[in-house]
Symmetry: C3
Subunit: 206 residues, 3 copies
């Protein structure tokens, strides 16, 4: 089981690193820019989580495999990106996959550090969105927090559903895959169907 978690964690770092490197491609940065944005996006969310949880060692400081995955994914993107017709679409789906993985894994790690449930859910949301936030902020793209499409909401769904399912012994075994699927499905629906929450001040009382 721990091997599966480690594998998902590396996979999440990889897909976020690809999304960061693709954002660097859109801005036509140099190869070091690809690596920097790939790495910042890949490890940004988990770094914020570990700093706030005050873990003994930030995950990538203790285990260099994470940095190598970021560097490798960024270099692969550098050489392969021009084969993709639409970088923006690949970026969007890599990001959605990372979102689903990290919303659950972030909640899981916070619970393992005995954070209260509301804190653990917040940590899951932050782990899933902070890397993208850093990427977009540094690139001058509009921050994901300001966009009306359902992004953080999907992370919230992943974090909450994992929190609920793991607390019940009957559902604990399936909590991880179900919650990841739920978060990804909601984000995918939001992308494909252009779903969004109602904005402030657009209700009938206005």
């Amino acid at each position: 089981m721990n091997t599966a978690i480690y594998g998902f964690d590396l996979l999440g770092v990889m897909v976020f690193a690809i999304s960061g490197a693709l954002a660097a491609a859109e801005r036509r940065l140099d190869i070091l820019g690809f690596i920097l944005f790939g790495t910042i996006t890949g490890i940004g969310g988990g770094t914020a989580r570990d700093l706030l949880l005050n873990t003994d060692v930030v995950f990538w400081v203790g285990d260099p495999a994470y940095l190598w995955v970021c560097i490798g994914a960024s270099l692969a993107t550098w050489f392969l990106a021009r084969r993709f017709q639409t970088l923006a679409t690949v970026l969007l789906w890599a990001d959605a996959m990372g979102l689903a993985l990290f919303s659950v894994l972030g909640t899981m790690k916070a619970l393992a550090w005995h954070a209260p449930m509301i804190v653990a859910i917040g940590m899951g949301m932050m782990t899933a969105s902070f890397g993208s936030l850093l990427r977009d902020s540094l690139l001058g793209r509009p921050a994901v927090l300001l966009q009306p499409d359902i992004y953080v909401t999907a992370a919230l769904l992943g974090a909450c559903s994992y929190g609920l399912l793991q607390a019940d012994p009957r559902t604990a075994a399936i909590a991880m895959p179900v919650a990841m699927t739920a978060a990804f499905t909601l984000r995918a629906a939001a992308i494909l169907l252009d779903l969004r929450l109602p904005k402030y001040g657009t209700g009938p009382a206005e």
Copy 2:
């Protein structure tokens, strides 16, 4: 006394959360945006302080009451904000109140962790301004550090006056209320009278 400090701390988080949610209202974000900006603004300053002091537990990670206050204040703002004629004015005064509370409470916590006085004053200034800085930066509003009105100066006054007064046994008992009042009064005067420090390059030597 500790109960009073805890109460002021929750109050500071609440007024900053309201200012964050009001900034979300100005940008017409959805309800989750209100909660996110309320929470980030409410706990941002204290989080930076606790990370830099390397406290055992970041305050809101150990005590979920802070997150509930942020969520509650953000939701209340969502439902009540349209009753206010001028969101910007309410935001300004909520922000001023948080500034006064956190400049003193931040200095107090740093001194309790045995930080040197100059460090504790810096921590007080940072606790008071970092939440607003995050809020404005993420919303694309002009950063408070760049504006000529007296904002950080008021936090400096609160931090310094608390530092001085608490060091003398004769004034230690009144240090907290006096310093909070001083910071709020200076910030209020700056808002009402449009006070500002002289800019670089505008002196007679130019």
Copy 3:
């Protein structure tokens, strides 16, 4: 030797603080703005490094000398800056000097905390560039990560060459000065000769 490292560390903080205060001068901020930007730029990189390494005490929290150096350098810049014809040039070279010092000192501190080599090199790059990144981001200047000139590359050279040279007993004694000189020389060449890495999508395969 430790005295030399401490001296270089203070020197690096000082030149970055000057670059921060000069950036405040370009934006015509007030005297507190000079101190804030001087301090943020001076200690920003080392602060990020210490938080990620989870050192017991962030360097400037335990030793107030660093804050005094930032405040002194910022005040000196306030009074002396108008004597310089071209603030931008002084800023550029102060920044280059800080870059060279911190890329090596950051790697050194990470290795002393037993970080793996790839992590230590990343820490050196971050220590050298994070203060400038904060300065430019808060001032609304274009982020150094997006600019095509060789900035982070010079930090990478300093960090890598120090990492290699200190690992071999025959070169360990000269690792620090050689690596600092290498980083500074590459950055100076980049400034003077307008060197840059090839951008994505400009190769012959395009």
